[in-house]
Amino acid sequence: MFSVGFRALFRRELLRFIRRPKNTFMPPAITNVLYFAVFGVILGGRIDEPVAGIGYILFLIPGLIVLGTISNAFENASFSIFHGRWNEYIHETLTSPLSYAEMVVAYVGASAVRGLIVGAIIAVIGRLFVPISIEHGLFLVATMVVIAALFAGLGIIGGLIARDFDDLTVMNQFILRPLVFFGAVFYSLTMLDPIWQYVSLLNPMVYMVDSVRYGLLGYSDLLEVAPAAYAELAPYASLGVLTALTGVVIALDVYLFKIGYGLTD
């Protein structure tokens, strides 16, 4: 099913981050221990009323998993492509007989794997602070795979359009993180005024965080605040739209490779 060439590139991409855990896995692990300790235990302990009927530290876990997963999937793909362009060793791949689709799927797949590993690490850290029982396992896995692949695909685009390393930082710090922080990671949409609830619905991160929260805890903000006609389908509709979007982004990646955008003269 997968060619020898594809497997070689996929393996190379996996090894690149697996062999450097200090750079790839330790930072999100430490950051999330701090999140859980400060927001969950110290501040969360002072929130007497459960958020959406859930203890605050448990409510935080899905959002932090999403934040870690998509940040790392995006960062891995964008760095891998841009660093390869910067030092021109991406030529090793580009001058090979791999098809453009194989190249893209290898880069996206490996970056998604890094995002999922980080997501799993955050879940394990969360488990150290509070017991978790998974409510909709299959839905959770499907959602995690889709959002990891989506942001890995977006990372490819970021890596192709970046002109220097600062551009990568800007994308991650000034675009991704604000969207996630306003994506109902640290609060429930039900806590907002109706007008802000609707404004929040324009943020795509809301759907990702909500889907993972539904898969993990069985709770969905969208089921509470979305219009009634949509409400029953909310988590599945989100997953469907995200899956379609992921397909579109990966197709765009393949097209950019085909035309050599950012890769060839």
Binding site: A8, N23, T24, H91, P97
Partner: protein, 332 residues
């Protein structure tokens, strides 16, 4: 059997700048072909078009009959390229870099490992197999680029100035190795600034200038295109150069020497001696010097029209140690 390389009216434009101008070139299978030209002639642009790092603007380019864009996978599978730039994966020891490259070309992992060892031994850096690229010396880096090109066992080996800036010993080692590969049947396309290298190694050479093909010939044919200089020592210095326009391109007096530039010095010399004696000059010595290939090269590439500015893209024929200036960023 299709040629190893065949381009027809190949064009590459960067905005108003034309890096390749209707370049038509054929390199036969098994040939050792040289590409000569000054910096900015378009040699690297030509090579990069073949391997997929430059997208052509017009014309056709095929490698063993495979269109470089339409059948890019087949075309690229046949090519091993050792570029000027040190564009090597810095994250892995060099042995793994070679294994990865072989893997991308569909070579299974076990065989890729064997081939990596084999080519590292062949280029003489096997004992450095566990080092990363950045820790190698300049000469070893050049050897690794060659090893990487060879690890996929290519039918067409492209060497873009492989001996630029390397010491004499390494240059001779590389010459020996590529000659051996060519004798084993590998087609070789070599770009170089060293005329001696082309003269010594190549079956045919193409001279390029400003994106155009100036000529294609064997090194011997090229040399016959140059003029010879007959230097005649005379007993008495003439006040003005004698009139030898019947066969001389140029005649000049330098001290007690008369210098006459002609097409074929060997056949003209007896006639020249007779003519000079008939004019009353007493000849004491005569010497014929042939034009070197280097002088012919300079003549052919000395363009009268410099209006075509060299593009930034074709300037990639120049020194390319810019990667040395690039600092490695932290691992994300």
């Amino acid at each position: 059997m299709p040629p190893a390389i065949e381009t027809v009216d190949l064009v590459k434009e960067y905005g108003d700048l034309r890096a390749l101008q209707e370049l038509s070139l054929t390199v036969e299978k098994g040939e050792f072909f040289g590409l000569l030209g000054p910096n900015g002639a378009g040699k690297t642009t030509f090579i990069n078009t073949l391997v997929g790092l430059v997208r052509k603007t017009g014309g056709e380019a095929r490698v063993f009959g495979h269109d470089v864009e339409g059948d890019y996978q087949q075309a690229r599978d046949a090519i091993g390229v050792a570029p000027q730039e040190f564009n090597v994966d810095r994250f892995f020891p060099i042995r793994e870099v070679l294994e990865h490259k072989a893997g991308y070309h569909g070579i299974p992992a076990d065989e890729a490992a064997e081939r990596a060892d084999e080519v590292l031994k062949r280029v003489g850096i096997y004992d450095k197999r566990n080092e990363r690229f950045d820790w190698l010396s300049g000469g070893m880096k050049r050897r690794l680029l060659l090893a990487r090109a060879l690890v996929t066992d290519p039918d067409l080996l492209i060497l873009d100035e492989p001996t630029a800036g390397v010491d004499v010993q390494l240059r001779h080692d590389l010459w020996e190795l590529v000659t051996e590969l060519n004798e084993e049947g590998t087609t070789i396309l070599l770009t170089t600034h060293y005329i001696e290298e082309a003269e010594r190694l190549c079956d045919r050479v193409a001279i390029m200038n400003e994106g155009r093909k100036v000529t294609v010939a064997t090194p011997d044919e090229l040399k016959t295109r140059g003029t010879d200089t007959i230097s005649v020592q005379l007993e008495s210095t003439p006040a003005v150069a004698p009139d030898l326009k019947a066969y001389a391109h140029e005649t000049s007096v330098s001290g007690d020497h008369l210098e006459v530039r002609v097409d074929d010095g060997g056949s003209i010399a007896p006639r020249l001696l007779n003519d000079l004696e008939a004019m009353g000059y007493e000849i004491t010595d005569l010497e014929i010097s042939r034009t070197s290939l280097e002088e012919i090269f300079v003549d052919l590439t000395r363009s009268e029209d410099r209006t075509v500015t060299r593009s930034s893209a074709t300037a990639d024929d120049g020194e390319s140690d810019h990667d040395l200036e690039r600092e490695q960023e932290g691992v994300a």
